[in-house]
Amino acid sequence: MGIVHGDEMVLNIGPQHPSTHGVLRLVVKTDGEIVSQIRPVIGYLHRCFEKHCENVSYDQVIPYTDRCDYIASMNNNFGFVIAVEEMMEITVPEKVEYIRVIMAELNRIASHLLALGAFGLDVGAFTPFLYMFRDRERILDLFEMTCGARLLYNYMWVGGLSHDLPVGFLEKAHEFLDYFEPKIKEYNDLLMYNKIFIERTSDVGVLPTDVAVNYGVTGPNLRGSGTKWDLRKNEPYSIYDRFNFEVPVGKGQMGTIGDCWDRYWVRTEEMKESVGIVRQALNELPVEGDVHEALPKKIRPPKGSIYKRTESPRGDLGFYIISDGSPSPSRVKLRSPAFTALSALSVIAEGWMMSDVIAILGSLDIVLGEIDR
């Protein structure tokens, strides 16, 4: 009898796999259940966003930004339009700013709901996912009422918005917030404080702060690692400096700081904060104002470049725009938060089990549309 030697097996997770959140492919080397190497292969959803942008006018870029992070289209619109507005030095009316914040925060809630639900699905809990989708539907109803679309809104325009808020939106929005806030506790009871869920996620996939910063991981994933970094607070854009909200950071309540459970917890807390921001914005929303007032006749930013970051639900969403003075941008680069988060996957997930890799991937909340662009 010789020594029992286990060969490593190469396993392709994806591009068609139930829990790769799209068309991600992970080439993993496994030794039994233990995963010893992970190599993400991306690009299956590459739609030449940046090449398209060079051939269309600025306002035509906005629908393309919708399709990058299709879970949080409002936030992508937001990032692009404020970058162009800053180049053109446009000041938008108060009312527009407020509506933008309302929409961005509602979209943040919707995006987190999907992220948490899909994370639950990845660790095998089916029911919370459907509960969260049910409530996400209500947000989508609000969006539909506002701009007619449920997923790809093209709502924020350079200098304004496509539509004013419809009649009855405020009541509906308040109704939703009142309905939604207690639901967060329900989800937490069902999933977050479930013993099995804690077993599956605490101490798993720990992302230390320095590694997170070095890998450019941002957003809830970085905050889960205990770094208080939120562009809405640290580099306030639009009118975020007017609102009161906390930036939740992971505390390692169930294990180590920066584990999957912390990332989950941070997202639930952020939903609560977003509810608070939307409440404040709804209350302070100016009655007067024309959302089309500041729309420029021609969108032709002066020669130059800008790198503008905003806080999307997944982290720092950066737009690098170069203008040569013509009606279409000379270069648009989207710095996607999910792209950097995915690049950190192999560091934090190697050495864990197959099931954990899926859980860690779920906790990073990636959207392939944004990674592949």
Binding site: M9, L11, H17, P18, S19, E33, G120, L121, D122, V123, G124, A125, F126, T127, L130, Y131, R134, L190, L191, N194, I196, F197, E199, R200, M353, M354, S355, D356, I358
Partner: protein, 359 residues
């Protein structure tokens, strides 16, 4: 309806004892198969609707008789079954064809022949063997061989993963399950299913039915050990790691489609019935009424047995739609570090209790 009685009766009618034997077995097996099929349809419908109500949705509504195409969707499982029957039978080119075809049947046989020893009421049992419990424990583990064969012959890495996981899991969880049944055997002094049930007649502690679960604290614990192990043996959530659709696509069943997949499905539901049935017989008084002497006729016996089994199956479905899934090592930890010591403790405790309390 014991099969022996049938054999004797038939042997008087025909001259060949072999023919009598085969006929008797067929007469028993065909209704059992039909029962499993009908029960699976009901259980699938139940699972669809129960999961729907738990998830705040309506569930199947399209199929079925009545207005609005039947808003209860009563014929949904029939439609599902028909769909599976009519689907193309795909056998992967690189699969080991013979084993691939054989595997679903091995799994199903394991579940099917266990029904022979399940007492549905005072008389309705195919074979009341004097080793009934032992028989069920033995043949129900046949299924795992089928799962390994399925995973291996599919020639698919996901299937292989599922097979390795399920074999490790089922073999491990059989131990606490069997040890918990030992408690029952200690108390009743028999391995016969009917004998175990007859032992549970009357009252205990003055008010409670004399079911083994209520007889002492250790048996109470033993029931839960057995049931949890049983859930795991059926590969149901939170122990569904062999299928684990978010990790292993469909685990062992990845390459299966159509009728062969339906057989796996059928076996899973049949296994749920067996585990619940053994739990009901061993701990919950089998076909005894919850109130001794009340509605104890054989017809009601059937009702009580199915009711108890149904409740346990409902609990399994409830688990499935509530819990996340455990990881492989955690699963093994629970088995070897929690359930097994508890099962041993129960045996010890029941022994002491029996000596001290004298019953």
């Amino acid at each position: 309806m014991t099969v022996d009685v049938l054999i004797d009766w038939l042997a008087n009618l025909v001259d060949f004892p072999e023919l009598a034997f085969i006929l008797a077995v067929l007469i028993c097996a065909i209704p059992a198969f039909l029962f499993i099929a009908v029960y699976a349809l009901v259980a699938i419908y139940g699972e669809l609707k129960i999961s729907s109500f738990m998830q705040d949705k309506v569930g199947p509504m399209g199929q079925g008789p009545g207005l609005h195409a039947g808003k209860w969707g009563l014929l949904q499982p029939v439609a599902d079954a028909l769909k599976l029957l009519l689907k193309e039978d795909i056998i992967p080119a690189s699969a080991d064809t013979k084993l691939f075809i054989l595997a679903p049947f091995i799994v199903f046989i394991g579940a099917f022949i266990s029904f022979a020893a399940l007492p549905f009421n005072q008389n309705l049992i195919i074979a009341d063997m004097n080793i009934g419990v032992f028989y069920i424990l033995a043949v129900s583990s046949l299924g795992v061989i089928g799962l390994i064969v399925a995973g291996w012959s599919s020639n698919n890495k996901w299937s292989l993963y599922g097979a390795m996981r399920s074999s490790a899991q089922i073999v491990s969880y059989e131990i606490p399950a069997a040890l918990s049944i030992v408690v029952v055997i200690m108390l009743t002094g028999t391995l016969s299913m009917q004998g175990i049930i007859q032992h549970q007649d009357g009252l205990v502690w003055g008010i409670l039915p004399n079911w083994i679960i209520f007889q002492n604290p250790f048996t109470f614990l033993a029931f839960f050990v057995f049931f949890i192990s049983g859930v795991s043996e059926c590969n149901r959530t939170p122990f569904d790691i062999p299928e684990a659709e978010s990790e292993l696509v469909a685990g062992t069943f990845t390459e299966y489609s159509g009728m062969r997949y339906a057989f796996f499905f059928l076996s899973e539901y049949a296994n749920m019935f067996i585990v619940s049935g053994v739990a009901a017989v061993g701990f919950l008084g089998g076909w005894h009424s919850p109130i001794p002497g009340f509605l104890e006729a054989p017809g009601w016996g059937l009702f009580w047995f199915l009711f108890k089994v149904g409740m346990l199956i409902f609990v399994m479905m409830w688990f499935r739609w509530t819990f996340p899934r455990l990881r492989v090592d955690q699963l093994m930890n629970i088995c070897w570090k929690v359930l097994l010591p508890m099962a041993l403790l129960n045996i010890f405790g029941v022994g002491i209790w029996t000596v001290l309390a004298g019953r």
